[in-house]
């Protein structure tokens, strides 16, 4: 093979590798769940979320997931939420999954909420028995951590396909937290709830749009 041919082969290989890297980076940066805005306007807005035991739809029907309700009332499979800065955010989470308990019981105490409490099914709590929790909603940078009570294992009419409806077994958790300056904050569930993955922390626990997301404070 001549020197020119070898140089051409090397250049083609480098170009192919570069193209793959660029494709990966562009895909990573551009493909993300849609942003769901809170309803209402500053200084007080409302977020409505639901957790489901299994999404029930492609591409991962058996993955546990959060969903968010957009301002038109439609459930969207997304965990990228937009809220205004320096505001109070009232959150309602409809929790359709059963209890598995917290790996670290420490997260059973609500933190970072207005008043340091949450409301579970009409009852105000400053701590939830960690064994009764199914998931958590946590924004570490704001100090927010809320345990979500699971539905009973033997509850009738349990939901298996998202979006779930309020006629199906669920618990309702409400609380409020305050936002600060604008920024992009991560939020996550602290329960190792990814069934079938090592230590329960693979798959949906490592994926934006499922049990992790961003809070776009703007």
């Amino acid at each position: 093979m001549s020197r020119a041919a070898r140089a051409l082969a090397v250049a083609a290989g480098v170009a192919f590798g570069t193209a793959l890297i660029v494709y990966y980076i562009v895909s990573y940066l551009t493909v993300s769940p849609p942003v769901v805005a809170a309803t209402g306007s500053k200084p007080r807005v409302h977020l409505t979320l639901q957790t489901v035991a299994s999404f029930g739809n492609p591409p991962h029907p058996d993955w546990v997931s959060y969903l968010a309700r957009d301002p038109h009332g439609k459930w969207v499979h997304s965990t990228v939420l937009r809220v205004p800065a320096y505001s109070t955010v009232d959150v309602t989470i409809y929790q359709f999954d059963t209890a598995t308990g917290l790996r670290n019981p420490f997260w059973g105490q609500p933190r970072g909420t207005v008043g340091g409490t949450i409301n579970v099914g009409g009852k105000t709590l400053n701590v939830l028995n960690p064994d009764l929790a199914s998931h958590t909603f946590a924004i570490p940078d704001l100090g927010v951590s809320v345990p979500l009570k699971g539905v009973a294992d033997n509850a009738k009419n349990q939901c298996s396909v998202a979006p779930c409806t309020l006629s199906e077994a669920h618990t309702t958790v409400t609380f409020s937290f305050k936002t600060g300056k604008p920024g992009k904050l991560r939020w996550q569930c602290f329960v190792p709830c990814a069934f079938g993955f090592p230590l329960g922390f693979g798959g949906p626990m490592q994926s934006i749009g499922w049990m992790d997301g961003y809070l776009m404070v703007q």
Partner: protein, 285 residues
């Protein structure tokens, strides 16, 4: 000036040695006096000071070696360069037992000296050099029996801290008193993390089922950065926060407030243990 076949040949060895000697005489004091105080880690604890002193000594010893290689390389590049197209043999090279012996003795001495110095720092000075010594430390500092135990718990993706001598409370914040020997008991609830408190001179692996002990003795109050130094998943980069070294009285006030703030969850926490094997590892559907 020596000659080969009647041609004068400069004494390259003497020249190289002279250049190296001058550069070393300039570089080593600069390393020790100017760069040394800025080498990591900062001087927040007794242990981190020992680590930095070790870094200064190591650098001061390594620079002459690096300079020798560089000087020889650059000298050869300039003076031994063949500028003509003719391919000719160089002068014959003969063995020099003295030079070989000197090289072996010198390099062996340097390596052994560094090993002795490193071991001394690891064991007697820095008490494990911040990397953690596992559940049964070999290098215990004086008064280790009375060290304040603070358990560092890594979990995806947050650090929490337990104070077994203060009712076993757990907190999201880390504060320690100054001029007090602290024993960090580093562990994990899931995958391997690494507790990196840079200013304290600590970077200890947090391994599930392992109590990894690292001692620190803070010299003054201030903030220190906490990070995870082991790639542990999606939000690994977010496992960072600020810790605080407080004056003793301020620490007592802080721990009292923390006990009050976290009181409602204490009854649900597992009994303090050096390691945890937490359930659940499942998800109900």
């Amino acid at each position: 000036m020596t000659t080969i076949a009647g041609e004068p040949v400069p004494r390259h060895g003497v020249r190289i040695f002279a250049i190296w000697l001058v550069l070393t005489a300039i570089a080593v004091p600069l390393i020790v006096l100017v760069l040394g105080p800025h080498l990591p880690p900062p001087h927040m604890t007794v242990e981190s000071v020992d680590q930095r002193n070790a870094n200064i000594v190591m650098t001061a010893l390594l620079v002459p070696i690096a300079l020798l290689v560089l000087v020889y390389f650059i000298y050869s590049f300039v003076f031994f360069r063949e500028t003509t197209d003719a391919i000719v043999d160089g002068p014959p090279i003969k063995g020099h037992a003295g030079a070989q012996l000197l090289w072996i003795v010198l390099t062996s001495t340097i390596v052994l000296a560094l090993a002795v110095w490193g071991s001394y720092t690891l064991i007697a000075g820095a008490h494990g050099a911040g990397g953690g010594q596992g559940p049964d430390p070999a290098a215990k500092p004086t008064g280790y029996q009375h060290a304040l135990p603070v358990q560092v718990i890594g979990q995806q993706w947050e650090w929490t801290f337990r104070y077994p001598t203060y009712g076993g409370i757990e907190t999201r914040d880390l504060a320690i008193p100054d001029h007090t020997l602290v024993a960090f008991h580093v562990t994990s609830l899931d995958v391997t993390h690494s507790f990196w408190a840079y200013e304290l001179g600590v970077k200890a692996d947090a391994v599930p089922g392992v109590d990894n002990i690292a001692y620190v003795n803070p010299r003054h109050t201030g903030l220190f950065q906490i990070r995870c130094a082991e790639l542990c998943g999606l939000w690994h980069g977010h496992m960072s926060k600020k810790g605080r070294v407080l004056a003793s009285s301020a620490f007592q006030a802080w721990i009292a407030a923390a006990q009050k703030k976290n009181a409602s969850i204490v009854k649900y926490l597992p009994k303090y243990s050096r390691v945890y094997y937490p359930a659940p590892l499942r998800r109900a559907g």
